[in-house]
C-alpha cells in the first residue's frame, strides 16, 4: 500500500506548511493576486536572490543585460496536470520509481486540491479537497496512461508535473508543444539506485525491460566508471534542456528520503520557503 497512514499523516503536516506559506504570500501581496505558476503575465520586476530562475525573462536579459523576473498572476484555482510514467522501466528500484512517482503525484495533487484547485490525471479530473481520497485511490490502484500520449492531450496552461525516468525517446518532442503553449512544466527525473550506481560485474547480458532486447557486455571497473559518466551526462543534458526552456527539472533517486524529495520539489515550485 503506497499511501499508508504514516504517509497521510506526513502529507497533512506538509499541507499545513504549504497553506501557511501561501497565506503569508497572500497577505504580502496587495493586489491579492497570487503569483507564480501558470498565470497571466503581470509585470516585470528586478531579480532578487531566491527568485525562481524560471521566471527570469532571458530575452530581456539579452537586451538589457540585467535580470528581470516576469511576474504572473495566478488563477484562484490552480490547475494541475499530472503526467506519470508507470511503464515497465519505472518498476525498478527499492522502492520502485513508479511508487515514488505515485507518491510525488499524490503530494502535489493533495496540496493543489487542498487549495481548491483542480487535478487532472489521465482522463480523470479531481476538484476540491473532498476528492483527495479518490485521487489517492486512482493513483494507487489504477494504471496510468502512457505519459507521452498524455502530454499531447495537455490543453490550456496548466501546471504540468511530469514524473518519469525519461528513458523513452520522444519526451522532448512531446514536451515541446506544451512548453510552447505557455504551460508551467516541472520535470521530476526519478532514477533507481542501481541505475545511478550499477553493482553488476562480470559477463552480463543486459535486457531492456520493455523491448526485451539484450546487449552482452563485460562489466568491470572501467565500464562502471564510464557508465557513471554517461548517466551524469544524461542527467545534465536534461537539466540544460530544461533550463533553456524554462522547464523545472528535479532529479532524485528512488531510495532517497521521500520527505526530502517533496520538500525540495515544493521549494522549487515556490510553495515552500
Amino acid at each position: 500500500m503506497i499511501f499508508d497512514a504514516e504517509f497521510l499523516k506526513r502529507l497533512e503536516s506538509l499541507r499545513v506548511a504549504v497553506r501557511r506559506a501561501l497565506q503569508a504570500r497572500r497577505e504580502g501581496d496587495r493586489s491579492g493576486i497570487r503569483k507564480g505558476g501558470s498565470a497571466i503575465f503581470h509585470s516585470y520586476r528586478n531579480y532578487a536572490q531566491g527568485d525562481d530562475f524560471r521566471s527570469i525573462d532571458w530575452s530581456l536579459y539579452a537586451r538589457l543585460g540585467s535580470l528581470f523576473i516576469r511576474e504572473r498572476t495566478r488563477e484562484e484555482a490552480p490547475d494541475l496536470r499530472l503526467v506519470m510514467d508507470t511503464s515497465e522501466s519505472m518498476q525498478f528500484g527499492d522502492p520502485t520509481k513508479s511508487d515514488v512517482a505515485r507518491k510525488i503525484a499524490a503530494v502535489v495533487g493533495f496540496l493543489v486540491l487542498g487549495e481548491g484547485g483542480h487535478v487532472r490525471l489521465g482522463s480523470r479530473s479531481f476538484s476540491g479537497e473532498g476528492m483527495r481520497h479518490e485521487l489517492f485511490s486512482v493513483l494507487e490502484n489504477e494504471a496510468m496512461p502512457a505519459p507521452i500520449g498524455e502530454l499531447r492531450r495537455v490543453t490550456g496552461k496548466p501546471l504540468v508535473i511530469a514524473i518519469s525516468d525519461f528513458w523513452d525517446d520522444g519526451w522532448r518532442e512531446a514536451l515541446a508543444p506544451v512548453i510552447g503553449s505557455g504551460a508551467s512544466i516541472n520535470l521530476v527525473h526519478v532514477l533507481s539506485r542501481e541505475e545511478l550506481v550499477p553493482t553488476t560485474r562480470g559477463i552480463v547480458r543486459f535486457v531492456d525491460s520493455e523491448s526485451g532486447i539484450g546487449v552482452s557486455k563485460y562489466v568491470g571497473d572501467e565500464e562502471v566508471a564510464e557508465y557513471d559518466r554517461l548517466v551524469k551526462k544524461e542527467c545534465a543534458g536534461w537539466r540544460e534542456w530544461s533550463m533553456s526552456r524554462e522547464v523545472g527539472y528535479f532529479r532524485c533517486a528512488s531510495d532517497e528520503a521521500f520527505e526530502q524529495i517533496v520538500l525540495v520539489l515544493l521549494r522549487g515550485e515556490g510553495l515552500l520557503e
Partner: protein
C-alpha cells in the same frame, strides 16, 4: 591397478557434469534493466568480447575436476596387486645308515640342486636328528618314522638314500625319491663267533680273509678256523673295498677276574665294598669290565659296564618318603626297609629297567649295560651297610656277564652290507612351481589424500579470487 568396486568408476562421468555446470556458469548473467541507452554507449573491451564466445579455462575448474576424479577413485578402492612367489617348504630325509657312509659326495651333489630360496629342512634317518651333519649311524633302521615326521611338516618330502623305500606319502604330500646308489661291489662280514675253540666266519661272498690271533696274522679261507684255548683276542679282516665298515670284526675273551676302575670323586666306602669281593681287581684301565663313576657326567666308555653314583645333571635332590625295590635280581636280596637314603635325585628319560624308585620316581635304573644310581646315603645306610657288599657282588656279576666267553665287536647286520645299487637323481622341476601370493597394496588412502589436497588448492584459489 585394480579396483574393488569398479562399477563406481562410472561416477567419473560426473566430471562432465561439473565441466558443463562450470561452462554454464560462465554464461553471461542476464540482468533486466530499465533502459539500454546508457549501456549501449559504454564501449566494449576487445578481450572480454572474445571471451564471451568461448569458455574460459579455469585452474579452479581443473582442481575441482581432479577432486571429483580422486573421490570417485577412492570410492572404487584402487589398489596395486603384486604377485610374490613364496618359498617352497621341503623336508629332506637323509639316510645315514652305515651303507650311506660311502655316498657323501653323491648326496652333496644332489642336495646342491635345491633352490636356496626354498625353506629346506633335514631329518636324518634312522636317528631322527634334525641336521645334515652326515653323522652316520652304526645300525640300519626303518626310515618310516623319519618320513612320517617329514610328511607332517612339508608337502614335499625328499628321500635321499641308496635304496628305495616302500613308504607311501599321505594325500597332499609328494615323495621325491633321490637314490644315490651305484653298482659297488662289497664283501662284508655277516657273522663271526668262536665256539668250542673254533672260529666261525660268514661272509657276503666267500673270499680269503685274514685272521690275527693274539697279534699273529694268518690268512684263512672256509668257515672254520681253530683257536687256541689260551688266545684272548682274535681279529678277522677282509680285503679293503669301497665299504669298509663291514670288513673287520674283533673278538675278545673276558677274563675270570673282573677288572674294576674308578673315575670321579673318591669314596672309600664303595672301594672297600668292591675289594671285599675276591673276584674284583681294581685297575686303572680305560677298558675295565666295571667302571664306577662317582659325581661325574654321563659320557661314552669302552667299559663293559658303567655304574654312575650321584651322577651330575640330576636335578632336585630331595629327601625320599618311600622307597620301593623292583622285583628281580636286586629286588629279592634288598628289602626296601633296608634302604637308608639321605637324598635322591629324579632320573628323567627312558630306562631299560628301573631297579629302585623313591616316591614313584626312578632313582636306580639300567640302560644297556650301564647302571645309574641317583642317591646319596648316610654313612650308616646303604650301600655301606655291612649287608651291602652283596649289592656290589651282584653288580660285579652283572658287569662280568659272559666272562670267559668271546665277545665280537664290529659286526653289522646283513642289510648293512647290501649296498644300494639304484640311482635316481633329483629333478628340481618335479617340485613344481612356487606358490604365488597376490599381495594387494590398497591405494584408497592415497586417493583420498590427493582429493583433499586438490580440494584445499581449489578452496585457496577460490578464496583469493573472492578476496
Amino acid at each position: 591397478m585394480s579396483f574393488l568396486h569398479p562399477g563406481v568408476l562410472w561416477a567419473l562421468a560426473s566430471i562432465l557434469v561439473l565441466i558443463f555446470f562450470s561452462l554454464w556458469r560462465q554464461r553471461p548473467v542476464s540482468v533486466k534493466v530499465a533502459s539500454l541507452r546508457i549501456w549501449r554507449q559504454v564501449p566494449d573491451r576487445v578481450a572480454p568480447l572474445k571471451s564471451l564466445k568461448k569458455p574460459r579455462w579455469s585452474l579452479i575448474l581443473l582442481l575441482q575436476a581432479l577432486v571429483v576424479a580422486f573421490v570417485v577413485l577412492a570410492l572404487a578402492r584402487p589398489g596395486v596387486v603384486r604377485r610374490e612367489s613364496l618359498p617352497r617348504r621341503i623336508t629332506v630325509v637323509l639316510d645315514v645308515s652305515p651303507p650311506m657312509s660311502i655316498r657323501g659326495a653323491a648326496v652333496t651333489a644332489e642336495l646342491a640342486k635345491l633352490d636356496p630360496k626354498d625353506h629346506v629342512r633335514y631329518i636324518e634317518s634312522p636317528t631322527l636328528r634334525r641336521s645334515r651333519s652326515f653323522t652316520f649311524a652304526d645300525r640300519m633302521g626303518d626310515p618310516t618314522a623319519a618320513l612320517e615326521l617329514a610328511a607332517s611338516e612339508s608337502r614335499h618330502v625328499i628321500w635321499v638314500g641308496d635304496r628305495d623305500t616302500p613308504w607311501m606319502p599321505p594325500p597332499g604330500v609328494t615323495l621325491h625319491r633321490v637314490l644315490v646308489g651305484s653298482p659297488v661291489e662289497n664283501v662284508g662280514i655277516l657273522d663271526a663267533r668262536i665256539d668250542g675253540g673254533k672260529l666261525f666266519v660268514r661272509l657276503t661272498h666267500p673270499v680269503p680273509y685274514s685272521v690275527t690271533i693274539d697279534g699273529v696274522r694268518r690268512t684263512a679261507t672256509g668257515f672254520l678256523t681253530l683257536i687256541p684255548s689260551t688266545a684272548a683276542r682274535v681279529e678277522v679282516e677282509l680285503p679293503a673295498d669301497a665299504f669298509t665298515l663291514d670288513d673287520k670284526v674283533v673278538l675278545t675273551r673276558h677274563a675270570e677276574s673282573i677288572d674294576v676302575a674308578f673315575e670321579g670323586r673318591s669314596d672309600e666306602n664303595v672301594k672297600a665294598a668292591i675289594t671285599a669281593n675276591p673276584r674284583a681287581r681294581i685297575v686303572k684301565s680305560r677298558t675295565p669290565q666295571l667302571l664306577i663313576r662317582i659325581d661325574r657326567d654321563f659320557s661314552p666308555s669302552d667299559a663293559a659296564c658303567v655304574v654312575y653314583l650321584e651322577p651330575r645333571g640330576v636335578e632336585a635332590w630331595r629327601k625320599p618318603r618311600t622307597v620301593s625295590v623292583e622285583d628281580g635280581d636286586l629286588g629279592k636280596i634288598i628289602p626296601a626297609s633296608e634302604v637308608k637314603l639321605r637324598e635322591v635325585g629324579d632320573l628323567g628319560g627312558a630306562w631299560d629297567r628301573v631297579l629302585l624308585s623313591a616316591d614313584g620316581k626312578p632313582i636306580v635304573a639300567v640302560k644297556g649295560r650301564d647302571v645309574v644310581i641317583a642317591a646319596r646315603w648316610d654313612s650308616a645306610g646303604w650301600p655301606v651297610h655291612p649287608s651291602f657288599p652283596i649289592f656290589w657282588t651282584y653288580l660285579l656279576e652283572y658287569a662280568s656277564r659272559g666272562s670267559g666267553e668271546w665277545v665280537a665287536a664290529g659286526l653289522r647286520d646283513a642289510s648293512a652290507s647290501a649296498l644300494g645299487r639304484e640311482s635316481r637323481p633329483l629333478d628340481p622341476r618335479a617340485l613344481g612351481d612356487r606358490p604365488r601370493l597376490d599381495h594387494r597394496i590398497d591405494l584408497t588412502a592415497a586417493a583420498v589424500l590427493l582429493a583433499a589436497m586438490f580440494l584445499a588448492g581449489a578452496w585457496v584459489m577460490d578464496s583469493k579470487r573472492n578476496a
